[in-house]
Symmetry: C2
Subunit: 626 residues, 2 copies
């Protein structure tokens, strides 16, 4: 079926690749050669057997097939492939895992052929799903997405989320390559070499499956031909392989997972490889030069919120996304089966072709968003704030792919009311703040929400927007600006006793406290900290200037939220800082009851202000006084 | 097959349960009646058809069968069941979702019949797996665990993690009840009423399956009899049901997910129900009175660390767990396929019967830990610190079950070196700190690590212990005590210029900086903040007393970590606080190179101290001076 010449050349390339794998990991003194050796034929046949289409000089070309190493620890194989393709020299390969080398321990996007950073297992297939969705439904391009998977990582639930969605969306352009080498890090996997078990499970999810010997070049080539044959199903190539294949003394042996060979062992191994033809270079087929389907940008429409009608910021999110889409035609909406609550449904109804229902599978949703982002889209991903916790590992990893993703979490805080703690986002600010260089927005009214959605769309990187379930009054006008890092002083006078810093629902509690205190002839400053990260320190110091004490108030747990953000930025600060935050186990109840119970409502603000004034008066201070 | 009398009584009970569901949700003005009505026969038959064995007066009895509502939004059904069993009065049911009622929007453990708080979907089956593991392998008791599942939540990957593990551990005492009512929150599920699809997928994972009409009482009773028949497989009862069943105008209609009927609609619905016999009470079969297998506690062995031999704190964790087990015979070890890296393997080898390999499936691992904890065990759960992010939602939810779980995260920070950012825990402190009332430990040497493991075992609640990959010198003696909230001043003199607060790897950088600065005649205070949460404010102020500036240094991102914890506790603090933390995208390299690159090594500490001294000398201050 295949020409002897072709298989012979791949065999030579496989030997060269094994040589690279062994020498680079031994030189590094660490890494995962055994997991690389098991997939060598699988990858050599894919890239150099005429299946894979890729323009080596334009790794970001929209027409390239995509290759994702979900088993990112097989990075020696990944780099060796591009070595065998002539794009990485042997001396460059020997910088593997060294400080400053683009060849990091697990692939990152510093290396130009990496589609997305991997290394946390069970994420590559979802990233591939995003790229496949992009090809089939957005760019309308024929490229295929291949994902190399380890057998150990099939224990991760995220895989089966993707498995369901890929079949649901009939992604016949998504091909998984499952390297069943039987051994995980510390021992055998649950299924060992029971390839039937994998085939049974995977095909039951609606995938085409091909089972084969992963070291037989003709079998591997046939398997790919079968996998990409026209059909409306995604395909999984399930290969029986041997961990450490080609090096007899580590083959199929436990204890050789994340371990390089010593120099002596490496020499022995290289002898077993036999002659290495360093001149052989793998040819990769070229893709057609097609243009992705695109819309030119147009200006966004204007907003329209009557001053006297409260609107939930979550609804403003949906409005905003639909409104700004003409200006940002790369925007794509994803939602985790709650679009009627997050109001992503408004965008979906306006632009159904730009929206993907991702069902209740947050890990896959975020992985897919990363895949879309890496293909130039601007995904807006929405669910309840609480449920982003489900995808924290994917969010963390997306950062290492320099991802341009916008996360929108609704139903923040105890103010959601009766549904109780399981549905309350109370850790989301801590989670998104700790992502390196992230931006965290928390709008308080519909106008600022819309403005911040627009700001997010225009900024490259990870942005989180926290929205509120309850309607809140309009406090801004469309002419107001909300730059990243800033804040808004909403109430200010020369005799402000205390600064109260809130955002979202608590800003309105602070405004109510202001109103009540004014009647007692006490004035407080009210500051809307709509951007929790970054915080412009000078702008914040300017905002609180002239007040002697600060009260922060937030519908979030104390750690990692608004209060800590303020304390952290203002250290040192000579005055007192009091932080009102959620500190009791929340329960069901009416929103206002719960705000009172957690002592983050107007009542607690008023009490704290009056307490400060009494103690200040007792101490004879002028500043914190009515 | 079943007596007419028996089915007739269950029918009456089902009508009473529907009456409760409708009236309690209408009274609350919110809730999920339609999702409750679809599973009414499924649950009425389980509890009152002689299948379920439960001592109503002793809900915590170890012999009770367990019932978990993974679809926690069906809480009206859940509460109505115990109403029909005579344990909750009609007037109590009418407090549903009201502030202070134990009948919260989604079940929480305030209600005595709740096994674990649910409401975030896709978690109940893993909790059930933990309870089933406990019955089969630890307590050796014949109780069974039943989990009611929604069809929408089958999209969650966590389900399929549990599915694999439950088959692997041959948990024939775990029975899932899948309520296929076709409709999710915003529309149809991926599979609708394709029950074959569910059967195909679930049976391919090694489960016994029974497909049936979920509203036919005889079919449901037969299905349970079939499901619990001796076999070595877990079983799934897959039931075709109708959302809103029994109320014609909401039956199988979209738009009725989280929505109560109005009073008028409720009246109409009650008319459709027909006669309600409020006197009927369901009988539940009694379990045998057996004793769980138990070991009496004995004292723990002594530790033994030579003063001059560095030991990694991760290894000390394994040593400690094996050492203290006799004192804490409820301890169970769980690990996510990295026990040779976390050193949970030491415990596994010492007590193989008390250890469960959970493979690479962190969500299920944490869910199972919760199930074990709720059955009185003390699970110690380990994986790389980074990978706990995978289970953040489960960790968050475990808190609402008042769970007693210990999390141990290894491979913290950039100091792991060559493996690169995917494997580096850099957000874990932020994640665990934001869990309400959690305790966060970060030991710096083997002795404190052992002591803190012991402290964790003895404390009820969620405790996180962060361990380090690299060996670190022994700095303490076995007589030292490490109380929760405390810190240790390791270097102190009367002329300390600056306090440096570190923990884990950075404490040793601070000690090295101390040594180098001493030669320059500069003394610094060095403080080991081994407990990041809670922090005893007075103890910390005492520790830094007499120094004018503080430098915090941590191998973690800035937000939510050690620096913010210190700044937050010490606000207000008159002196300067500088925080050294990871602020650049990490990469591969040698540990020391990476600590230098991120400016959290001895070099950066020394530079910052010298900079402080120069500016202080320039300003003529006495305090920050050599």
């Amino acid at each position: 079926m295949f020409e002897e010449k072709e298989t012979e050349k791949i065999r030579k390339l496989a030997t060269l690749i094994r040589y690279y794998i062994l020498t680079m990991s031994t030189e590094a003194g660490s890494g995962h050669p055994s997991s690389s050796l098991s997939a060598t034929e699988l990858m050599a046949c894919l890239l150099f057997g005429g299946i894979f289409r890729f323009d080596l000089d334009r790794p970001r070309s929209p027409n390239n097939d995509r290759l994702i190493f979900s088993k990112g620890h097989a990075s020696p194989l990944f780099y060796a492939l591009w070595g065998a393709a002539g794009k990485v020299s042997e001396s460059e390969l020997l910088t593997f895992r060294k400080f400053g080398s683009p060849l990091e321990g697990h692939p990152t996007v510093i290396f130009p052929y990496t589609e997305a950073a991997t290394g946390s297992l069970g994420q590559g297939l979802s990233i591939g799903l995003g790229m496949a969705l992009n090809a089939k439904y957005l760019d309308n391009l024929p490229y295929r997405t291949y994902v190399l998977l380890g057998d150990s990582e099939m224990a991760e639930g995220s895989q089966w989320e993707t498995m369901q969605l890929a079949a649901h969306y009939k992604l016949n352009n998504l091909i998984g390559v499952l390297d069943v080498n039987r051994l995980g890090q510390r021992g055998e996997t649950m299924y060992g070499w029971d390839l039937d078990a994998y085939q049974r499970m995977i095909s039951s999810f609606g995938w085409k499956t091909v089972v084969l010997d992963g070291h037989s070049i003709p079998e591997v080539l046939s398997a790919y031909e079968e996998a990409i044959k026209s059909d409306d199903r995604p395909a999984m190539v399930i290969a029986k392989t041997i961990k450490g294949k080609g090096v007899s003394f580590i083959e199929d042996k436990n204890g050789w997972h994340g371990k390089a060979l010593s120099r002596e062992e490496c020499d022995r191994a290289l002898k077993e490889l036999g002659e290495v033809d360093k001149s052989v270079r793998g040819d990769i087929a070229s893709p057609d030069d097609l243009r992705p389907k695109k819309q030119p940008p147009k200006s966004a429409a204007a907003m329209d919120y009557p001053k006297d009608k409260p609107v939930a910021t979550r609804r403003a999110y949906g409005n905003a996304l639909a409104r700004i889409y003409p200006e940002f035609p790369n925007v794509v909406g994803l939602d985790g089966e709650v679009s009627n609550s997050t109001y992503a449904v408004i965008f979906k109804e306006a632009y159904p072709d730009r929206f993907f229902e991702m069902y209740i599978a947050e890990q896959n949703m975020v992985g897919a968003a990363l895949g879309l982002a890496r293909r130039g889209k601007i995904p807006f991903v929405s669910t309840f704030a609480a449920f982003f916790a489900r995808a924290f590992d994917q969010i963390r990893m997306a950062r290492y792919s320099d991802a341009n993703i916008k996360f929108v979490g609704s139903h923040a805080g105890v103010s959601i009311g009766e549904d109780g703690p399981s549905q309350m986002g109370l850790e989301d600010l801590a989670m998104f703040r700790t992502i390196l260089n992230s931006v965290v927005f928390y709008p308080s009214d519909a106008i600022s929400a819309e403005k911040l959605v627009e700001e997010a769309a225009g900024r490259d990187g990870i942005v989180y927007i926290r929205t509120t379930r309850k309607e809140t009054p309009i406090i801004y006008s469309p002419a107001d600006e909300f730059p990243i890092g800033g804040n808004k002083v909403i109430r200010r006078s020369d005799r402000d006793a205390v600064s109260v810093i809130g955002a979202g629902i608590t800003l309105h509690e602070a405004l109510a406290a202001h109103e009540a205190l004014r009647k007692e002839n006490v004035s407080i400053r009210v500051i809307d900290l709509y951007c929790l990260k970054p915080i412009d320190e000078r702008a914040l110091r300017r905002a609180v200037d002239g007040t002697e004490a600060i009260i922060t108030v937030e519908d979030h747990y104390r750690e990692g939220g608004l209060g800590e953000a303020v304390r952290s930025v203002l250290a040192p600060w000579p005055g007192q800082i009091y932080s009102l935050a959620v500190t009791k186990k929340p329960k069901s109840g009416e929103p206002q009851e719960l705000l009172d119970y957690e002592e983050i409502s107007r009542k607690s603000i008023i009490n704290k202000v009056m307490e400060l004034i009494s103690s200040s008066e007792a101490a004879g201070s002028k500043r914190v006084a009515r």
